[in-house]
């Protein structure tokens, strides 16, 4: 199993890149797509309907923890629910993490989820995680076990700053990935951007060109087109690293 995580500053195009990566990987094997952004948009980008999230069932378990029959243990309940909410599609399954934690204690439920997720991901050739914006997925180590971390930058200085911060935090927390990449998204052919991406210290994987078809799909809130210039660029990037 090869796991990718896509992260970066908000608005740089993490979800679009994640969806394009899923579309590409489906041609190579069976994919598990995980939408780890609480503001979940990956299902829509992939053209998939999902009803419930891990956040929903986690809350449900905490709500009914005293109501389950004593011998109906919580590990079994949670495993069953996780499988139930997994959206099954041609070539890929999709799991939406959903709402963040509330004030209660999540030690037990997250411990159970870790084991379930480890078991689940082992069933796929590829896992693609669309991370939430910012750095929390690294500090909370939810992206542990990921081989390739891809940070998306859109050419803005702030998006490069975020990439640098992700690299720094990764080193501090020893949350090592095999590769820490930076990808330029919606690149408007400013050659200087490539140099700026390289200056971040992350390995520069390449650029995804600005694509009006993608922009249109995002604007309309419809699934990304099956074939696109951007998709072709993602194909090239993956050819390099797989």
């Amino acid at each position: 199993m090869h796991a990718f995580a896509v992260s970066g500053k908000g608005g740089t195009g993490k979800t679009v890149l994640s969806a394009l990566i899923v579309r590409e990987l489906v041609k190579r094997g069976v994919v598990l797509a995980i939408d780890a952004d609480p503001d979940s948009n990956l299902p829509e980008a992939l053209g998939v309907d999902t009803e419930r999230t891990i956040g929903d069932i986690r809350e449900e378990l905490l709500q009914k923890k005293y109501k389950l029959p004593p011998e109906y243990t919580k590990d079994v309940w949670l495993e069953g629910k996780t499988y139930e909410i997994l959206s099954e599609n041609d070539g890929f399954d999709l799991l939406v993490m959903g709402r963040p934690e509330g004030p209660e204690c999540y030690c037990m439920v997250n411990n159970l989820l870790r084991r379930i997720m480890d078991m689940l991901t082992a069933n796929y050739d590829y896992t693609v995680i669309d991370s939430e914006a910012g750095l929390e997925h690294i500090s909370r180590r939810t992206t542990i076990g990921v081989q390739d971390m891809i940070v998306v930058a859109d050419g803005s200085q702030r998006s490069f700053d975020t990439a640098v911060r992700i690299k720094k935090l990764t080193e501090e927390l020893k949350a090592r990935f095999d590769h820490l990449y930076v990808v330029l998204n919606s690149n408007k052919d400013r050659p200087a951007d490539t140099a700026r991406a390289e200056e971040t210290g992350l390995s520069f994987l390449g650029s995804i060109p600005y694509d009006p078809e993608i922009e249109k799909a995002c604007y309309q809130g419809v699934p990304l087109p099956e074939h696109s210039r951007a998709g072709q660029a993602v194909h090239q990037l993956l050819e390099e690293i797989l």
Partner: protein, 444 residues
């Protein structure tokens, strides 16, 4: 053992998920109304060892991609096989059936959800007889107390439906027995150190009468987790010797407390908040706090907003109580613990509870002795200790009996001040005689 079987059987297949695209058939699951699995103990002469009965459509007769009802009935016999073990044996159906290549089993009881993969079907896994035989062999190999095993698979709704309806009654009777389970009925307890990442000396002792402080792990959850991963954060505690029957002290728990608290704590008294109480992590659902003015115990839950009867909010109490310290008179608990027959039994149980927020009072109403219900104050009655004392006096709360006897006889008294301003401070008063009409502490 796999040679006579069409597909492989082994632990490596555990966790194997059959995706819809690779699914030959689906059995049970949310889209099928009736499905169940059940283990029943039988007398030795009532079952035939190794027999597998398949009634209804067999796998090879099922439509590709179809969904069907399913019953897996496992009947076992053996000199040491008792009814109490039925649930434990039943749980293993999940493990063992998942050992079969191309068979997925999720959930339990009336919720089971299974799939058979196309690839295993093609290899020859086309009859439930094989499922029954594999289960029979695995059960006998892994649980030697089973001397005879007979397995029945039903797949027609007309058979499955009445079976499930009858099984529900069996599960309910089993649940009722499980709810009655007490510390005295078991040989082992369970420990939990999930919270050690922020309370490094804390360990939860989980017993049938004492749920974890977060309320999330009961004795059955502990047992399940310890079996899946014995070296993980939930582990078995041998009960050891029951050395103090009033304080509920067990040598087995003490040993684990010493080890897991890294020597910080030596012993736990299970059902008290004084002396050597259980420690508190940070995840507790509620905090019990001793109110010296009335010799009683107050309880406040995490979502309670406002001040408690001792003038501080939950957050302040939590700062004081949490972190894995052993504190006389402050203890994190699960709300469900208030339903335990051993709830603070050493300290007088419900007779000692004087103040709880209305929310908890409603929630655990059925557990509060009827004659006490109106005698316990809530925030609607008062959030002031003097008023509380007056209320308890008027209501003739049983805690009053302690007031006359309340002569301080302690040779050494430890006073731990509440509040962030005092965090980390510990006052020790030796041979103290204190009389104060009022102590006023002001915020700087």
């Amino acid at each position: 053992m796999a040679e006579e079987f069409p597909v492989e059987i082994g632990v490596v297949y555990e966790g194997e998920r059959i995706r819809k695209q690779n699914m030959q058939v689906e059995l049970g699951g949310t889209k099928v109304d009736y499905k169940a699995e059940l283990v029943q103990c039988r007398p030795m002469d009532e079952i035939e060892d190794g027999k597998v009965i398949v009634k209804g459509k067999d796998l090879k007769d099922m439509e590709e991609g179809g969904r069907y009802p399913l019953v897996i009935l496992v009947e076992v016999a053996g000199e040491q096989v008792e009814r109490d073990l039925e649930a434990v044996i039943e749980r293993r159906i999940h493990d063992f059936s998942n050992y079969i290549e191309g068979f997925m089993h999720v959930n339990q009881r009336y919720d089971i959800w299974c799939r058979v993969s196309k690839s295993s079907f093609r290899k020859g896994f086309n009859s439930f007889t094989f499922l029954g035989q594999a289960l029979g062999k695995l059960f006998k190999a892994e649980l030697p107390i089973i001397e005879k095993i007979q397995i029945t698979i039903l797949t027609e709704e007309e058979d499955v439906k009445p079976f499930v309806e009858n099984a529900r009654g069996i599960y309910e009777a089993r649940d009722a027995r499980a709810r009655e389970l007490s510390d005295d009925d078991v040989d082992e307890f369970y420990g939990c150190v999930l919270c050690q990442s922020f309370a490094p000396t804390h360990v939860c002792a989980i017993t049938p009468d004492r749920i974890s402080l977060c309320g999330a792990i009961n004795w059955f959850d502990g047992r399940a987790a310890a079996r899946v991963d014995p070296k993980g954060p939930n582990f078995k505690i041998e009960k050891g010797e029951f050395i103090d029957k009033e304080k509920f002290e067990y040598t087995g728990i003490n040993k684990v407390v010493q080890e897991k608290s890294l020597g910080e704590n030596q012993r736990f008294w299970l059902h008290t908040m004084f002396g050597f109480p259980h420690t508190s992590c940070g995840c507790f659902e509620a905090i019990a706090f001793y109110i010296p003015e009335v010799e009683g115990i107050g309880i406040c839950h995490r979502n309670y907003r406002g001040e408690t009867v001792i003038g501080v909010p939950f957050s302040t109490l939590a700062t004081q109580t949490g972190g894995g310290k052993q504190l006389d008179g402050f203890l994190g608990i699960a709300i469900e613990y208030m339903r335990s027959p051993k709830f603070f039994i050493t300290d007088g149980g419900w007779n000692r509870i004087v103040w709880i927020p209305k929310f908890i009072k409603e929630q655990v109403k059925d557990a509060i002795p009827e004659e006490l219900y109106d005698k316990i104050a809530t925030e609607e009655i008062t959030t002031d200790v003097d008023e509380l004392k007056q209320f308890l006096d008027e209501q003739d709360h049983p805690v009053k009996e302690r007031w006359e006897a309340a002569v301080l006889e302690a040779e050494e008294l430890e006073v731990v001040p509440v509040g962030e301003a005092f965090a980390g401070t510990r006052l020790i008063l030796k041979n103290a005689r204190i009389h104060a009409d009022k102590v006023i502490i002001r915020r700087r």
